[in-house]
Structure formats: structure tokens, C-alpha cells
């Protein structure tokens, strides 16, 4: 066959048609731009979320690593570095502290080996200058530390006189004065008072890498999404000793999968919305022009020529729409959302919320093309395959049904109902896009509610304020919280309840206890962070001499906890009322809590455990009556691996000769009561030995994160809502225009404008009710599943009533008002003219 050169003529023809139908094509350009915009924003939000989380980790740690091993030996470091999948393992040892300005804040000095400094510290800094200290009197400090020392403009080589003390347990190096030479400084994402010194200085301090809480081996992995099994294997390989555990997040992979699922959901929803919008517009355009296509076919245009003719027009819309959408999306990602956050938080230039990368633009462009192509593909094929007669006869509003039984009354509502369903495709697209936004809003509102600072804090804290006698760990006899103080706290205005928690160290005898606890201890050894060899070693020490030389403590240590009635009620509520209150308060038994709340204590029920209370010679015993599985322990000081025993206050006083209060859990009359919080803070101002943590203080810290989530979630919903409502408005406009003559005919036979307005409003309301109903039926389970998937804080599922009622009200109002407004706008002019059209 001879090739016919018809590309030019097709292009010219398409150009004329494109210019002739400018309004419709402009809508297409806008729809593509909106789709590109939305994809760009969603993608950048995803990346920004990842960046925010990463930065948050860097901010809290100041170092880049995946897992860490405390107090590592040289052998363990060697084995870790040789282990498959370990990228870098750098050692850092905290060896000295420096007094800050007015002796208020202390600067911690670390020694980092070459790997730690180069591979793990440097990438975690915003910036750094200078070199790592080489000589004993050289130092490198964080900008925060320098500011603490009153140095705002640091210069390499400057001399800084510091008073420092060694962190070695038995060192005489206290209040030493040294003039250091500053070899460099660094800026961290977080604000830490720290600095680095040379190996020579570290050796001088006498601190060892195996000293408790001083040495830490930071391990960076090839695959940061490690599993618990991998960490267990690593622990077995390097041979954990004593109480050593690898610091890791056993739920990392699950959390990652959940987060990815959430982002995929949002992306899919965005792509579907874009698809519906593009499909809708192209469908309308084709429906309008189909008779012309029939004419083209009649005069000899082939199917593939018809496709080319349409593709030219789609191509021009993409060329105009996609770059504008991508540009607008980039501008929003870089400017609008961070600005919004700045406005809401009242602090301009608040950290970058939305990250951006040029590769995102490429991905967004590709996805936009895919959405446009999938939106047009089906209709292109349909138009290409249409015969001229089919095209001429095409009438979109005729329903295929031939007859319908008489209805008793043809009311306005019934006519509206028929109109809604007269073009099923149009109905499906409009309802689907409305459902989409309602479902996204439902899901986003549930996730936001679930992650709101108040929900998270209410879930995580069973108190409004906690006063902790933290010095008990070092001094088991330290009575920081007195009965008088507890009374004083209870008397503060706005405080409803004060729950007292007593605790004391106890020592279990191996012979008496091991067999009783065998099943429990076997479960402990199965924990991912535990090593079986390590467990065996600890059990041997417990069996033979109890004193663990490596830990500097006894094995077989546990804790006896005494609680008052108010605290019991909270525990029992958490346990679903399974504890017998009367029996507990009579001191008939104990509730046993497993190690890290991860090990079941059911095997101990009915068993009597004998122990010796710290500082007391005589042996005591309690019988386990209940397991504390699934309930949060009332105390916070560690129990070692043996279970914690919780008894009533009276029983505790019988067993422990000098009862010491570990903590007070305070409940306000109204949660987050600022006045009560303030009064309590003031009361404890002179008790520096006690640690006060309040829900309200944490709320203020968490509020920024909540705000970020709210701004991001609301922006996303707003963008999707604009797209959806444009889509709906467009559909309605087309529906009204295609019925213009019919509406005029109705008026000619006596339907008033008011009745037509009512019919339009009824049509919109039907859309709203159907979309609302479907969204509610599908959206609530979807929001439940999504919220469950991203529920990091285990907050209970809660559908926020007010925002969702508001959403349905807005949906209803919008869906009802838009058709009326469009009808009034499009159906202007003399009735006679409308009848002629």
C-alpha cells in the first residue's frame, strides 16, 4: 500500500477543532494540571514525611545508625563488623562531662572512633567545620555547647578553658581544669550539649568502652528494614553477655509496611480522582462532538486517523496542563504548606515540612501521563471503532428501557431521582468521585484523631501528672516522696486523685524459685533481644553465687510493688475487671507482671514465691493470684527479667518494714487543666530530687507534630475536595446543558422556576445522600483498617463526630446548591429561545 501523507492535515484539523472548542479544552487543561498538581503534592508529602521522621531520629540521636550495642567488648566489635549485612559499626564512648555556664548545664564529651566519626556522625550533622581532635588537649564542640559556653562565633584554633570530670566509676579526675584548643565545631538537627575529644584524652579519663551506659557501638545495616530474627542472629553471633541487649526496634518492619500502606492508599485515591476527572471531561467532550466524528467517518476518516486527530488534542492539553500542574505542585510543596504551618504555629519559617526532589517531578509527570492515558484510552478506542450511523444516532440521555409502569404521582423528587440515574455512567463517575473525597476525609480524620497529641497522650499515660522518685534506682532507701508531700499534692486545687505506688527491690532464691519460674524464664529467653547463651550464663550466676561481677549487681533480683485502691481501680479497668478487688485489697494475692510486658505470667498463677526484701533478713512470700498480661505495670523502675509482684498497700506495709514510695500518679479533675498543672509544678519546684512529668507538658511538645499532620492532612483533603467538586460541578453543568430544551419544555407546560430549582436541589441531594451513604458504609470499615494499620500508639479507634458531621453537612449543602446555581446560570434567557435551542 502507498503511504498517505495525512499527518499535516490531521494536525491542522485537530488544531482548528481545538481552538473552536476552547472552553471545553481549557477545562481539560485545568483537569490535567490539577491531576499533575495533586500527584506532585502527594508524592512530595510522602517524601517529606520520610524526611521528617529521619530528621526527627537524627534530632533525637545526633548520629546515624540502625541498632546499637551497649558496653561492647573488642571481640564483639570485631564480630559485629564481620557480620553479614553490617555496613558500619562505629564505637563511641562517653568519657567526661564539662560544667556549663553557671554550672547549670553539662556538656558531655565523647570519643568516637574513625568509623563512628566519618560514617555515622558527619552524615547526621547539618554542617561541620574543622577536623577531629588528635591531641589530648584538642576538642570539637557542637554549636549548642559553644553557645552554652558563651561562644557565639567559634573559630578553629581558639582556646577554651573548661572544668571537667571523668565518668569513670572510681576516678579521681574531678573538677579538672584544662585549656583546650578548638579543632572544629558542628551543627546538629537536635540541640545537644556535646563534644568530641581525642583518643589520648579518652584514655586519660580511665573510662572503658565496657563501662555501663558509657560505651555504645553504633551499627549501620545494609538493609535498614531489619527483622527481629536478624537482630537475634546478630546477638547470638557476637555473644551477648550479662544484661547486654541490642537496642533495636522489633516493630520497625511492621511500622514501615503500615506507613507504606497508608501512603499507597493516598496515592491510589489521588490517581483514581485524577482518572475520574480526566475520564469525565474527555467523555463529555466526546459526547458533544460525536456527531462531528460521525461526519468525519462518513467522508472517509479511518479509525486510526480519528485516534490521531483526538490524540493531537489530548497532547496539547497535556503539554499545557501537566507542566503548569507540576510547577504549581512544586510551589505548593515548597512554599504553601510550610507557610501554612508557619501561620498556624505562629512561628514563621518553621522547619521544612515538605521536602522536594527533582526526581519527584519526573515521577509525577510519568504518573500524570499514565492517568491521562488511562482516562482517555477506552473512549479513544470506542470513537475509533464507531460507525458513522452509530455516531449520528448517539444520544446520551436516552435510556435503554422501553416502558415503565405508571407511577402514582410524578413529583419533583421522583423526576429528580430519574434524572440522576438517566445517564448511569455520569452518575457512577460523579458519585465515585464524591465517595472518594468523603472516604479520604473519613480516613484522614480518623488517622488525625488517632494521632492527635491528646488521643496519644490519653492512651499512653494513665495519669495527668507523675511524680517519680527516680533516685530510688541508685539508693533503694531514698524516701523522696513523703506521705506529707502526697497529702500536699492531693490538696492542690483541680487535683482529683493521687494514686500511690510503693516499690522495693527483692531478691529471689534460686533453689526456691527456679522450678516455679522455669516456664516463664524459657519464654524470656525466646525474646528477640535476648540471647540463650546470655540467659544461661545469668542463670548459672544466679544459681552459684548470685553476685554478677560483670553487671556489678545480684542476679535473681525482682521488685515488689504496693498500690493503693485508686491505682488498683485503674489497673483493673485496664484488665477488664478480671482482678478480684475485695481479695486484692485483703492482701490475698499478687498480680504478676512479666519482663517488659512481653512475657506472660500466666504460668505463675497459684504459685507462691519466696523472696528477701532489700535490707531485711527475714524471708517473705506472696502468692500470685492474677496475671498482669495486657495491663501496664503500675511502677517504672526496672525489674530485671524476673516478674514484678504487685500487692495492695496494706500487704506491702506488712512485708516491707520501711515502705518507700516510688511514684505518685496524679489525676486532674479536668484533663489538660493548665491551672492544676501550674500549681503542681510550683509545689514541686523545690523538690529537685523528684522528676515531674505531666501530660500537658508533653502535649505542648507533641503539638507541633500534631499540627504538621493536621496541615498536611487538611491540605491533601482540600486539594482532593477542589478536584472532586470541580468534577461534580462540571458533570452537573453538562447534565443541565444536555437537558436545556427539556427543562424549557417543562417550563412551557407550567413548571415554575421555583419547582425547577427544587428539582435541581433534589438531584444534588440525591447525589449527596447516595455518595454519603456509600462512603459511610465503605469508608468507616476502610478508616478502621487504615487507622489500625498506622496505629503506632495503639490509640482506640474513634470516628471524630463533629468534623464528619460537618463534612456531611458541607457535602449535602454543596451538592444541593451547585446544581441550582448552575441551572440559574445556564438556563437564563427567554423561554422561547431556550425552547428553540
Amino acid at each position: 500500500m502507498i503511504k498517505v501523507k495525512n499527518k499535516k492535515i490531521l494536525r491542522a484539523l485537530a488544531g482548528k477543532a481545538y481552538r473552536g472548542n476552547l472552553r471545553q479544552n481549557l477545562m481539560m487543561v485545568v483537569s490535567i494540571a490539577m491531576t499533575a498538581f495533586l500527584i506532585t503534592v502527594v508524592f512530595s508529602l510522602g517524601v517529606s514525611y520520610y524526611k521528617t521522621v529521619t530528621e526527627r531520629n537524627l534530632a533525637s540521636e545526633g548520629i546515624q545508625y540502625d541498632v546499637a550495642l551497649p558496653e561492647p567488648t573488642d571481640e564483639q566489635i570485631r564480630k559485629t563488623r564481620e557480620f553479614d549485612g553490617v555496613k558500619d559499626a562505629g564505637l563511641s564512648v562517653k568519657c567526661a562531662v564539662v560544667d556549663g555556664k553557671d554550672n547549670q548545664d553539662r556538656i558531655r564529651l565523647y570519643w568516637a572512633d574513625e568509623i563512628c566519626w566519618e560514617k555515622q556522625c558527619q552524615p547526621a550533622y547539618v554542617r561541620w567545620e574543622g577536623t577531629y581532635p588528635k591531641n589530648e588537649n584538642e576538642i570539637m564542640l557542637s554549636l549548642q555547647s559553644l553557645a552554652e559556653l558563651g561562644i557565639e562565633q567559634p573559630e578553629c584554633g581558639m582556646e577554651i578553658a573548661l572544668t571537667w570530670g571523668s565518668l569513670a566509676a572510681e576516678s579521681d579526675l574531678r573538677d579538672c581544669e584544662t585549656v583546650f584548643r578548638l579543632t572544629g565545631w558542628f551543627e546538629e538537627y537536635g540541640n545537644h550539649n556535646n563534644g568530641y575529644i581525642a583518643k589520648a584524652f579518652y584514655e586519660k579519663t580511665g573510662v572503658k568502652q565496657t563501662d555501663m551506659t558509657n560505651g555504645l557501638l553504633y551499627i549501620s545495616l545494609e538493609n535498614p528494614l531489619y527483622s527481629s530474627a536478624y537482630i537475634k542472629k546478630l546477638g547470638d553471633q557476637i555473644g551477648l553477655t550479662g544484661n547486654q541487649v541490642i537496642y533495636s526496634d522489633p516493630y520497625l518492619l511492621t511500622k514501615f509496611i503500615r506507613l507504606t500502606a497508608g501512603l499507597v492508599f493516598l496515592t491510589v485515591m489521588t490517581l483514581i480522582s485524577g482518572y475520574l476527572f480526566v475520564y469525565n471531561l474527555f467523555y463529555i467532550s466526546v459526547s458533544r462532538e460525536i456527531r462531528n466524528y460521525g461526519q468525519f467517518k462518513t467522508i472517509g476518516m479511518t479509525g486510526s486517523q480519528m485516534k490521531t486527530y483526538l490524540l493531537w488534542q489530548i497532547g496539547w492539553s497535556v503539554l499545557l496542563g501537566a507542566p503548569s500542574g507540576l510547577l504549581l505542585g512544586s510551589m505548593t510543596a515548597l512554599g504553601a504548606v510550610p507557610h501554612l504551618l508557619g501561620v498556624f504555629s505562629g512561628e514563621s519559617g518553621k522547619g521544612q515540612v515538605v521536602a522536594f526532589h527533582p526526581m519527584l517531578l519526573l515521577f509525577a509527570a510519568i504518573f500524570t501521563m499514565l492517568v491521562v492515558w488511562s482516562g482517555c484510552r477506552q473512549l479513544l478506542r470506542k470513537v475509533a471503532g464507531l460507525t458513522p450511523i452509530e455516531a449520528v444516532r448517539f444520544h446520551e440521555s436516552i435510556r435503554p428501557r422501553r416502558q415503565r409502569r405508571n407511577t402514582k404521582e410524578v413529583g419533583i423528587f421522583r423526576m429528580a431521582l430519574w434524572n440522576v440515574f438517566r445517564n448511569r455512567k455520569r452518575f457512577v463517575i460523579s458519585a465515585a468521585s464524591l465517595c472518594m473525597i468523603v472516604m479520604v476525609y473519613l480516613v484522614v480524620s480518623v488517622v488525625l484523631q488517632q494521632n492527635s497529641a491528646k488521643s496519644v497522650l490519653n492512651q499512653q499515660y494513665r495519669y495527668d501528672a507523675r511524680i517519680l522518685n527516680s533516685r530510688l534506682l541508685d539508693d533503694p532507701e531514698y524516701a523522696g516522696i513523703t506521705e506529707a508531700l502526697a497529702e500536699q499534692v492531693g490538696g492542690v486545687d483541680g487535683i482529683k486523685t493521687v494514686r500511690r505506688v510503693y516499690s522495693q527491690e527483692v531478691q529471689y532464691d534460686y533453689e526456691d524459685t527456679y522450678e516455679i519460674m522455669r516456664a516463664y524464664l524459657e519464654d524470656v529467653s525466646e525474646l528477640p533481644m535476648m540471647s540463650k547463651d546470655q540467659m544461661k550464663e545469668n542463670l548459672d550466676i544466679w544459681k552459684n553465687e548470685s553476685w554478677n561481677e560483670k553487671n556489678g549487681s545480684y542476679q535473681g533480683k525482682g521488685r515488689l510493688v504496693g498500690i493503693n485502691e485508686a491505682e488498683f481501680d485503674v489497673l483493673n479497668a485496664q484488665a477488664g475487671g478480671r482482678f478480684d478487688k475485695a481479695a486484692f485489697l485483703r492482701g490475698e494475692g499478687a498480680i504478676a507482671f512479666g519482663f517488659l510486658s512481653n512475657v506472660s505470667t500466666k504460668s505463675l498463677i497459684g504459685k507462691t514465691l519466696r523472696f528477701q526484701v532489700y535490707g531485711q533478713a527475714e524471708e517473705e512470700s506472696v502468692t500470685v493470684k492474677w496475671s498482669g498480661d495486657g495491663v501496664e505495670e503500675p511502677n517504672v523502675l526496672p525489674n530485671d527479667v524476673l516478674p514484678g509482684m504487685v500487692v495492695c498497700e496494706e500487704r506491702f506495709r506488712q512485708v516491707v518494714s520501711v515502705p518507700i514510695m516510688e511514684l505518685l500518679d496524679v489525676e486532674y479533675e479536668a484533663a489538660f487543666d493548665t491551672a492544676a498543672n501550674q500549681a503542681l509544678t510550683e509545689l514541686l519546684e523545690n523538690h529537685k530530687d523528684l522528676r515531674l512529668s505531666t501530660k500537658l507538658d508533653d502535649y505542648e511538645r507533641m503539638y507541633e507534630n500534631e499540627l504538621r499532620l493536621r496541615v498536611i492532612g487538611s491540605s491533601l483533603c482540600a486539594i482532593l475536595a477542589v478536584l472532586t467538586f470541580l468534577n461534580y460541578g462540571n458533570m452537573m453543568a453538562v447534565s443541565i446543558q444536555s437537558r436545556r430544551r427539556e427543562l424549557a419544555a417543562m417550563r412551557s407546560i407550567g413548571m415554575t422556576r421555583r419547582q425547577q430549582n427544587a428539582m435541581m436541589a433534589a438531584e444534588g441531594s440525591i447525589y449527596a445522600v447516595i455518595a454519603g451513604g456509600i462512603s459511610l458504609a465503605a469508608g468507616v470499615p476502610l478508616s478502621y483498617v487504615t487507622a489500625g494499620a498506622v496505629n503506632t500508639y495503639h490509640t482506640p479507634y474513634q470516628l471524630p463526630a463533629l468534623p464528619n458531621l460537618l463534612l456531611f453537612a458541607v457535602l449535602f449543602a454543596f451538592c444541593s446548591v451547585i446544581p441550582v446555581a448552575l441551572y440559574r446560570f445556564l438556563h437564563r434567557g427567554q423561554l422561547v429561545e431556550l425552547l428553540k435551542k
Binding site: 422501553r402 415503565r404 410524578v410 413529583g411 423526576m415 419544555a745 412551557s748 407546560i749 407550567g750 425552547l835
Partner: protein, 221 residues
């Protein structure tokens, strides 16, 4: 009894050189039960006159009084209500509502008025117009003649003061046209229904009791 009276009715379009006098001082009076045909060639103002009589368009000046109601004094909404109570329309292209079946199309004006349709009368109309078997059919399943008969039934169902027919046979073949016109004439006689029919066809006009000619916006008897 005079059911329709038109006094010095004018309808001008445009201004200056482009001024078109569609109706230029029309005076007309129609008695109860008359079947009047308005004839004239295209562009002479026939349809404009009909639209003015039905309150579908607003005159430049003059008055139209139907069944004692001066149309120029009615608001848009009042006009709509007036139309569904007092005027029946039969259009050239039927203007049936595609979503409603035959029966529903016929009773719609009454239901819009909040009235219960006179079922017996509607049944009688359907029988008389040969639509008894088609009352559950949708308009797109009917022939042109059947659709026009439905339009006539709809126009008559509310027992209007006047029935206005705009080229009712314009889209029909000659045999169907005769059939439709026969029905119009028969219903006019049977129900003493006043009918004003627009046509450009002299032959069709002969079926009416009275013929009015319209030329350059003026009427001649």
C-alpha cells in the same frame, strides 16, 4: 364569549437599521370553542404571535388577555402557573419528557399544580387519541404521530382555556398529519375546546373554523 383578546400587540427585535417588526400592532379576538388557524409564510411572525399568546415571550407593547387574565401583569412564576392551568401547548417537535411514560407526560402539568389528575378524563382522552395501549411506553418508543398525539393529550388533560398548536404536523408525513388534525378538530368539537393553530400549509388551515392570515407582522382575516 371572548376567550382571547389581543390589542395592538407589537414585538420588535433589534434597533435602528436592523429593527425587525415581528408583530406590528396585532388586534385579535377569539371566541370560546373556536378553531382558528393562523397562516403565513416563514418569518412573517406566526410563531411569535403564538408565543405571545401563550406567555412564552414578552411583547414590546400591547396586551394579551386570556380567559380574563392580562398576561403582561403576571410575573414569570405566575405565568408558568397560568400556563399549566389555562393553556395547552402542542409543539412541532412534541417536547415530551423522555424520562416519563405516556401517562406521566399527560398528567404532569396537573401534578405540578398539586392537583389530582381526572383519571377518567385522561383515560377517555387516551382512548380517543388511540393511546390506550401505549400509556406505559416511553416517548422514544413511539412514532412521530403517536408522540404528537401524546402532546395533544397533555395539552387537553388540564382542560385549558385555550390550546395553542405550533405547526403540529410539521414533523409528520401527510397521512399522519391528517390523522392528527382530524383528532384536533374532533376534540375541539367534542370538548368545545378553543384552539389556535399555526401552520404555513393552506390545505391544513382549511380544516379550521376560521383562518387568520399574518403578513409582515400584521394580521388579516
Amino acid at each position: 364569549m371572548e376567550i382571547l383578546s389581543v390589542r395592538n400587540l407589537k414585538k420588535y427585535y433589534g434597533a435602528g437599521d436592523t429593527l425587525v417588526r415581528a408583530l406590528d400592532g396585532v388586534d385579535l379576538s377569539v371566541e370560546q370553542g373556536e378553531f382558528v388557524a393562523v397562516v403565513g409564510s416563514s418569518g412573517n411572525g406566526k410563531s411569535t404571535l403564538l408565543h405571545m399568546l401563550g406567555g412564552l415571550d414578552v411583547p414590546t407593547s400591547g396586551s394579551v388577555c386570556v380567559a380574563g387574565h392580562e398576561l403582561s401583569r403576571l410575573s414569570e412564576n405566575e405565568l408558568a402557573i397560568f400556563r399549566r392551568r389555562k393553556i395547552g401547548f402542542v409543539f412541532q417537535d412534541y417536547n415530551l419528557l423522555p424520562l416519563l411514560n405516556v401517562y406521566e407526560n399527560i398528567v404532569l402539568p396537573m401534578q405540578l399544580d398539586g392537583k389530582k389528575p381526572d383519571r377518567e378524563f385522561v383515560e377517555e382522552l387516551l382512548k380517543r387519541l388511540g393511546l390506550a395501549e401505549k400509556q406505559e411506553s416511553l416517548p422514544n418508543c413511539l412514532s412521530g404521530g403517536q408522540q404528537q398525539r401524546v402532546a395533544i393529550a397533555r395539552a387537553l388533560a388540564a382542560k385549558p382555556a385555550i390550546l395553542l398548536a405550533d405547526e403540529p404536523t410539521g414533523n409528520l408525513d401527510s397521512r399522519t398529519s391528517q390523522e392528527v388534525l382530524g383528532l384536533l378538530k374532533a376534540t375541539s368539537e367534542c370538548y368545545s375546546q378553543t384552539i389556535v393553530m399555526i401552520t404555513h400549509n393552506q390545505e391544513i388551515a382549511q380544516l379550521a373554523g376560521r383562518i387568520i392570515r399574518i403578513e409582515d407582522g400584521k394580521v388579516y382575516e
